[in-house]
């Protein structure tokens, strides 16, 4: 499986997507965008189009499952949900993140 540890930004996006899906269940791409906007209080602004390569990559890696369904206003939309290995990945990412921020905090405290 692909390593993203030295690609923080991508790792962060992955984590945000996984986190959103882990808490909210099944969502389409647009709903994921709205959710990320919401939890990051619009601090993390990203080009919405760049979400899709990430969604597809994570699907291929088996972290997400994708399926077509009907949207709120009855249009065909692609829905994503998190898989067990996605949850595992999320836990790993969260731990990495925690270690990283802890390390940064420690460094900041002693400098």
């Amino acid at each position: 499986m692909r390593k993203h540890s030295n690609d923080r930004l991508q790792g962060t996006l992955d984590m945000l997507v996984l986190k959103a899906l882990a808490s909210q269940g099944r969502m389409h791409g647009y709903a994921i965008t709205l959710r990320i906007e919401q939890i990051s209080a619009s601090v993390l602004r990203l080009e919405e189009g760049s979400l899709y390569p990430a969604l597809h990559r994570m699907t291929q890696s088996g972290w997400l499952r994708a399926e077509w369904g009907a949207s709120e206003n009855n249009r065909r939309a692609r829905y994503y949900s998190i898989t067990p290995s996605g949850r595992k990945q999320l836990a790993e990412e969260e731990q990495n993140w925690a270690q990283l921020t802890e390390a940064v905090t420690r460094v900041l405290r002693f400098v």
């Binding site: 080009e47 919405e48 899709y52 597809h56 291929q60 898989t83 067990p84």
Partner: protein, 885 residues
């Protein structure tokens, strides 16, 4: 998603692109809708949505790229993983690849032959329009039985009247002796009419082919050479045309050389002109005939035409007029030209295909078993990986990749084995059994076949173990901290081994039946002693030898010179040599008793020494002598079968009979029986003994029965070494008469047993292969069971079990496996061996002794295979076993 799914996705990129477009469009539309709800104008809402989304094309491209990259990565990962895993257990890998290589190799070898013989079209121009024309009595005289063909009269008539065929032609396959260009050499040849090459659509590379007048007797003698012969014997001499070569003692002018690769029919190396006329000698009496259909005509239409013309064809009427009994059942057939060569061998090849398919199934079961065993050893690994979140589908995919690589390796190794296998197969085949040998070689279809087999078997034997190894009970397995458990895996392995044994039994039974049949065939007494007998057949042309006197004079001179040759113990002659032809008909008894309807006898005309030469025992009375000449009272010798039928009291000697259909009342047509000889098989070893009435050839009056005569000599030394001397005698008597054929009697007999011998050998080899694989299978399952039950065995021994108890326990499981397998196999064999019925001689497909012997053999082999694991089990040290884990 499995990786082949991904690969598939790559192939249908267009669809995926459309789906992706839809997904992205949905996002933009949803944003626009929210913007409108928030109170933006249509235009601002659109612009805001596009700005937020960014470069849509880029997003799409990046997404698609992502799919491809991940796909490639996963495939690579699976392959790497599989390779690493296979490298970790080289013994297992080697065994599995070897089993697959044997299975696939055997199949590919047989397929290579099938491909060359049956599947590949003949190397001719539009061979699909070439058809054999065949019209003969269903149970014809031995000379023509079993071969598509047509009498000379019917050929000429049909050629005149057909509308379906663009061209009709006739040929006779032959063997000739070429002298004068290096050592004398015997070559496959063909005598063909002038329309032969035009009908095939081939032109010579040099010179020309035959012109119509060259068919006629007495025309300048010519010959057409194959490119191979021209190259090997005449050093590709560019000035060969117009030179003379000697064929069967006759000088012939070379008029043409055919293009490279042309060797039709059979492996013909040279072609001689053939005259088909109403007065033809035996040579062209019943040629093979074929024609090229007009492009718009179908085989069915041609068949209909032949059927419509058949009642008007003259031969049947001529035969009836000549007093021959009207026979019911004439065969009217238009057949693909290929059938001339493959008719006999097709069924055999299909049976070989079936047999090797069994071998492959057994090999697959073996590899599946190996994978199951490996799977059970890897359960710990699988359990851990599952616990860590690996999806089951991913694990299955990985295991399947592994088995796919195994079978692919097996396919490549099998292909190499097949190349050797084909050579071995052709070496095993008696000469002349397999037609079109030159076309049996590796081509794209064969390679595709091998790889296809690899792919199919890879999935076939990989899926079950993969599903098994990643089964749901893995979590419980982990809970047992790696204790050996026996679970469904063992049951499944037993099922596989039982099927292996059952399949092997079917194959072995087939081999057993064929072997028994072949031994029976070999044990048949032909009624003569074939050893040390050399025969030479001479057909005298009726243009030069048209009276009985001239023919008999020729025979007498030849016989005298032959018997004076040094090394010749006796020389005789017969007009229809056993295994080489027959003439049969009715006869009447003098005392007015009717002969049973349909009772026919062979009517050989023989010289006085014939019975001595052939070693046919005289049972009573006397043999013919030189006093039984044309002026002496007419005599006959009957076979024992005739004597038993009509004179069961043993009083045949002195009785009178006639062979004429309408005997005159005087003594002229009546023969006195002077002797009784043993029965002789006239046609083949498989036929029933046929009654025969022999006459001295000097008392036979019709030239028709004398013009073809076979001389036979009993030699002191190797009979084949006398061939040159025999030919020399013929040249001394009449230098213009070539021998039709010179063959030892043993070769003639062997020819009739060649095919069953080949079948028996091949099926025996395949079933031995199956037996070996099954033995490995039984061994594997028991060895694995012993390994898994080490703890249990240890406990048993600690509790006082004897070594013999343990041995018995293991052997009992082995016996159970083999019993169930044999039971199933017997049922299968009963269903399958029926296809062998037409190949079996005096053995029923349900022959009980064969079944018993085969079952006993399998049980013995299975017990033997179980012995090794059983001995290992008795060596388990209870202390070590109990301390495991």
């Amino acid at each position: 998603m499995s990786w082949w799914n991904r690969v598939w996705n790559l192939l249908r990129r267009e669809d995926l692109g459309r789906e992706l477009d839809e997904e992205l469009q949905f996002h933009i539309d949803a944003r626009v809708r929210d913007n409108l709800k928030a109170g933006m104008t249509e235009e601002t809402a659109q612009r805001d949505a596009r700005r937020r989304f960014g470069n849509r094309t880029l997003a799409k491209e990046k997404t698609q790229e992502m799919n491809i990259i991940v796909a490639i990565q996963t495939v690579g990962q699976d392959l790497r993983y599989a390779l690493r895993s296979l490298r970790k257990s080289p013994g297992f890998t080697a065994l599995a690849v070897l089993a697959m290589a044997l299975g696939i190799g055997a199949n590919t070898a047989v397929f290579t032959v099938v491909n060359g013989v049956l599947l590949r079209p003949l190397p001719l121009v539009q061979p699909e329009r070439l058809f054999l024309i065949s019209y003969h009595p269903r149970l014809g005289p031995g000379v023509i039985a079993g071969r598509p063909g047509l009498s000379n009269h019917d050929y000429l008539e049909f050629q005149r009247r057909t509308r379906a065929f663009e061209r009709v032609t006739a040929f006779v396959q032959d063997q000739v002796t070429m002298t004068g260009a290096g050592d004398a050499v015997r070559l496959p040849a063909a005598r063909v009419t002038s329309s032969f090459f035009p009908a095939l659509g081939v032109s010579p590379a040099m010179g020309r082919t035959f012109a119509a007048p060259e068919e006629e007797r007495g025309s300048p003698r010519v010959v057409v050479l194959s490119e191979g012969l021209w190259r090997s014997r005449f050093a590709a001499d560019p000035n060969i045309l117009g030179n003379s070569i000697t064929v069967d003692g006759i000088k012939r002018r070379v008029i043409g050389v055919m293009p490279a690769g042309f060797a039709f029919p059979g492996e013909a190396q040279l072609w001689l002109p053939l005259a088909v006329g109403p007065d033809a000698s035996r040579n062209s009496f019943f040629p093979s005939a074929f024609g090229r259909l007009w492009p718009s005509v179908t085989q069915r239409q041609a068949q209909a035409e032949l059927e419509a013309l058949a009642p008007q064809l003259p031969w049947q009427h001529l035969m009836a007029a000549a007093g021959a009994p009207a026979r019911t059942g004439w065969v009217v057939e238009v057949l693909p030209l290929q059938d001339l060569f493959v008719g006999q061998i097709r069924k055999s090849l299909l049976i070989f295909m079936g047999a090797v398919a069994f071998v492959l199934l057994i090999a697959s079961a073996n590899v599946a078993n190996l994978l199951l065993m490996k799977g059970s050893l890897r359960r710990q690994e699988m359990a851990v990986r599952t616990a860590l979140g690996a999806a089951r589908s991913r694990l299955i995919r990985q295991l399947l990749t592994e088995s796919a690589m195994l079978s692919l390796g097996g396919a490549v190794a099998g292909l190499l084995l097949a190349i050797l296998g084909v050579r071995a197969l052709l070496a095993l085949a008696p000469a002349g059994i397999i037609p079109r040998i030159a076309e049996i070689n590796l081509d794209a279809r064969v390679i595709g076949f091998a790889l296809g087999l690899g792919a199919v078997t890879g999935i076939l034997f990989g899926l079950l173990p993969a599903v098994q190894a990643t089964g749901r009970e893995l979590r419980t397995f982990l809970g047992q901290a790696g204790h050996a458990v026996t679970g469904r895996g063992e049951g499944l392995r037993c099922v596989l081994v039982v099927s292996e044994i059952a399949l092997t039994l079917v194959l072995l039974t087939g081999a057993g039946l064929l072997l028994k049949s072949f031994l029976r065939l070999r044990a048949v007494d032909p009624g003569f002693r074939a050893e040390n007998v050399l025969t030479m057949t001479v057909d005298l042309p009726d243009s030069l030898y048209n009276t009985t006197v001239s023919i008999q004079a020729f025979h007498a001179r030849t016989l005298e010179k032959l018997s004076n040759l040094p090394g010749v113990l006796a020389a005789g002659a017969v007009n229809f040599l056993p295994f080489n032809g027959v003439m049969w008909g009715f006869f009447h008894l003098y005392d007015g008793r009717p002969t049973p309807s349909g009772y026919m006898v062979d009517k050989p005309a023989v010289s006085s020494e014939y019975f001595r030469v052939m070693g046919i025992p005289l049972l009573s009375g006397r043999a013919f002598s030189d006093q039984d000449n044309s002026t002496a009272p007419r005599v006959a010798i009957i076979s024992q079968s005739v004597a038993r039928t009509f004179w069961p009291g043993g009083d045949a000697l002195g009785q009178r009979i006639t062979l004429e259909d309408h005997p005159k009342s005087g003594n002229e047509d009546w023969l006195t029986i002077v002797g009784v000889v043993d029965n002789v098989r006239q046609r083949s070893l498989t036929e029933k003994v046929h009654p025969a009435i022999y006459q001295p050839y000097a008392q036979v009056k019709k030239p028709l029965f004398l013009s073809s005569m076979t001389f036979a000599i009993r030699t002191a030394a190797q009979p084949a070494s006398m061939a040159t001397a025999m030919r020399g005698v013929l040249r001394e008597v009449d230098r213009n008469q070539p021998a039709q054929s010179i063959t030892t009697m043993t070769d003639l007999v062997a020819k009739t047993t060649a095919e069953p011998q080949f079948q028996t050998r091949l099926i025996a080899i395949f079933s031995m292969l199956a037996l070996l694989l099954a033995a490995i299978g039984v061994y594997g399952v028991l060895a694995c069971a012993v390994a898994e039950r080490t703890r249990e065995i240890g406990i048993r021994m600690a509790l006082g079990a004897e070594k013999s108890d343990i041995t018995r326990m293991i052997l009992r499981s082995s016996l159970l496996l083999v019993t169930v397998g044999v039971a199933l196999g017997v049922v299968g064999a009963l269903a399958v061996t029926r296809v062998l019925a037409r190949f079996l001689f005096e053995v029923k497909p349900t022959d009980l002794p064969t079944f018993l012997v085969v079952a006993a053999l399998l049980v013995a082999v299975a017990l033997l295979a179980g012995l090794l694991p059983a001995r290992r089990a008795t060596r388990v040290d209870p202390m070590v076993a109990l301390r495991w884990d």
